[in-house]
């Protein structure tokens, strides 16, 4: 453990410093996300208004607001750009410099990214939760914040990050075969956006599709933690969902290791 701390924490620090150097980039990222949330908010408000009622498939408008903002924030928090990173390093050949370091390749990517995840947690998630709770208080007149659910949310979000990281890692290794990832990267992001329920809550989807999607790893990526936070799951279901996340984390870990072993043999470094 101490060894991990010593050799990988520097990667995390470097990741954080990078984020600070490109802070405008980060601010743009945050504001872009917020604008997207508001667009979705007005869209769903129109849906609720045309429905005439308060609740829609068990979601009140207040629920919907919490869902939209929190699921967006969660997907930003757990967003992993490791596939772009690998893709870029393979395209320009700088992956060779990473392979020269006596560290685990995937852990070095992960810790660099954890630096930015940590920053996002502080400047994005905490203010968002505060804002949402104030909104909820104004809308309903009750304090509905539940510490237990919040802690479970965090735990589930950590698992969600691991899943998101591993999925992107597997995807990034495709770059060893195709050399340039940009195009299919866009495809991947929109597919994940849909399958993970960050675009439309999975609860709104037809039953058959919903059940399928809920078992897939993508649903665990932002839907599960947000539903836990909102108290939509009972105890039994929480345990089941978290268990599912753990199973997916382990499976994807194994898969990424397997792909790595095959990919590293195929590596050809481009450009000298």
């Amino acid at each position: 453990m101490n060894k991990i701390r010593k050799s990988y924490v520097p990667f995390m620090k470097a990741g954080m410093q990078n984020l600070i150097i490109y802070r405008l980039n980060f601010i743009g990222f945050v504001i872009g996300g917020l604008i997207y949330c508001f667009v979705m908010f007005y869209l769903w408000r129109a849906v609720f208004a045309s429905n005439g009622g308060d609740a829609f498939l068990g979601f009140s408008m207040t629920d919907m607001v919490i869902y939209l903002f929190l699921s967006n924030t969660t997907s930003q928090l757990i967003f992993s750009s490791v596939s772009n990173e690998i893709g870029e390093e393979i395209r320009d050949g700088s992956i060779s410099m990473r392979l020269l370091k006596p560290v685990n390749t995937d852990l070095s990517y992960m810790f660099t990214e954890l630096g930015t995840v940590f920053m996002k947690l502080v400047v994005l998630l905490i203010p968002m939760i505060l804002g949402l709770e104030i909104y909820r208080y104004c809308a309903t007149g009750n304090v509905m914040f539940n510490v237990g659910n919040f802690l479970l949310y965090l735990f589930s979000a950590v698992l969600a990050y691991i899943i998101s990281f591993r999925v992107n890692l597997c995807f990034g290794f495709i770059a060893f075969y195709v050399k340039n990832l940009w195009g299919i990267g866009i495809l991947k992001n929109s597919i994940i956006g849909f399958l993970s329920g960050s675009l439309i809550p999975l609860a709104f989807m037809p039953d058959g599709l919903r059940v399928c999607l809920e078992y897939m790893p993508f649903a665990s990526m932002s839907y599960t933690p947000v539903m836990i936070y909102m108290g939509k799951y009972g105890t039994y279901e929480i345990i089941f969902r978290l268990g599912l996340q753990i199973v997916w984390s382990v499976l994807l870990y194994g898969l990424s290791k397997l792909i790595w072993l095959g990919a590293i043999k195929r590596l050809c470094v481009q450009g000298g």
């Binding site: 050799s7 520097p10 470097a14 410093q17 410099m97 020269l100 006596p102 685990n104 000298g272």
Partner: protein
């Protein structure tokens, strides 16, 4: 220390016909072609030696270095360094080596240089006292103080290269791989870098494998050279031997008032040399003689020319590495026939 046995590396490459039409064709029916980057390379290097690993562009030098450092997996053949096969346990193996690729950097692009060294210190588990001593040593020979607080992306090429060399030496590696560490640098920086390599080799018995196109790098640093071409070994031995065997061509340049009398035929007749061993080029004031110094000592050629004309200035040029490679290459072609 370092054993490379029959290393071979093939790549699959997609061949595209020229033009937009070709691109479309390649999109749907890619035509694959196998490229052999290294065909059959073998050599070994004892501990503490500086080996010059040379060859023309595209000979496969970088590919071999990448196999030796564990980045690439050989298609066939084997390499062992310190008794370890790089590909088998990359993480532990790379602890013992340092590497610089002239075209790339291992420095953290956006961070101040100092930060990279601190990160490396942790990764390689260098303790504080050793780290301080090491940094002082590297500062002294590579003069890093002036830019150690600047972000790496703002460094000049010479500064960056010095910083990269320092980064590769920080953890006192047993083997150092330097792939064109002096490319594109001015004389002063080149000299700094050579000093650093020499010092570390002398003081710590570091084994160094160096690729370069600069003959003075080899002359100043290397005990031995291995030359490859088209993915195969063509020469293995000392520089002196190489010169003796292949680099016998010398070039004399005379500055004269009037050289119209000096013709190639006259020289050939007078010195009894054929056209393979003597070539003359002349323009208005300069008169260039390139000849085989084994057939005729330089002194005799000088005396002969001086006896024919009045000379203002003379310069003697040694065979350069390109010339030697050309010679070797020509011989290789002959033996193929």
């Amino acid at each position: 220390m370092i054993y490379a046995e029959h290393l071979r590396k093939e790549f699959k490459k997609i061949v595209k016909e020229p033009g937009l039409k070709g691109s479309f064709k390649a999109l749907f029916k890619p035509l694959k072609e196998t490229v052999v980057a290294a065909e059959d390379i073998s050599f070994h290097v004892p501990k503490g030696e500086i080996l010059g690993f040379i060859g023309p562009n595209g000979a496969g030098k970088s590919t071999v270095i990448k196999m030796l450092t564990g980045i690439l997996t050989p298609t066939s053949g084997e390499c062992r360094i310190n008794g370890k096969v790089p590909q088998n346990d990359r993480k532990n193996y790379v602890r013992e080596i340092g590497a610089v690729f002239g075209q790339r950097t291992q420095l953290w692009w956006d961070l101040p240089l100092q930060e990279t060294y601190l990160v490396l210190k942790e990764i390689y588990e260098v303790d504080d006292a050793k780290f301080k001593k090491r940094m002082d040593f590297l500062n002294e020979i590579l003069e890093l103080e002036k830019f150690i607080k600047s972000p790496v992306r703002t460094l000049s090429l010479g500064q960056r290269m010095r910083a990269d060399i320092a980064a590769s030496m920080l953890h006192s590696p047993k083997v150092l791989f330097l792939d064109e560490p002096t490319i594109g640098l001015d004389v002063v920086v080149k000299d700094n870098i050579r000093q650093a390599i020499m010092k570390i080799n002398k003081e710590e018995q570091t084994t160094v494998i160096l690729t370069t196109h600069d003959i003075s790098d080899i002359e100043l640093l290397c005990d031995r050279i291995v030359m490859i071409d088209k993915g195969k070994n063509v020469y293995d031995g000392s520089l002196h031997e190489l010169r003796e065997n292949y680099g016998q061509t010398r070039e004399l340049v005379f500055e004269t008032d009037n050289n119209s009398k000096l013709t190639e035929e006259e020289f050939r007749k007078g010195l009894k040399l054929n056209e393979n061993d003597l070539v003359i080029e002349s323009d208005k004031n300069n008169f260039k003689v390139r000849f085989n110094s084994r057939k005729l000592p330089v002194g005799e050629m000088l005396g002969y020319t001086l006896s024919l004309t009045k000379v203002k200035d003379i310069s003697v040029k040694d065979a350069d590495i390109e010339e030697i490679i050309r010679n070797l290459y020509r011989q290789g072609e002959k033996s193929d026939e």
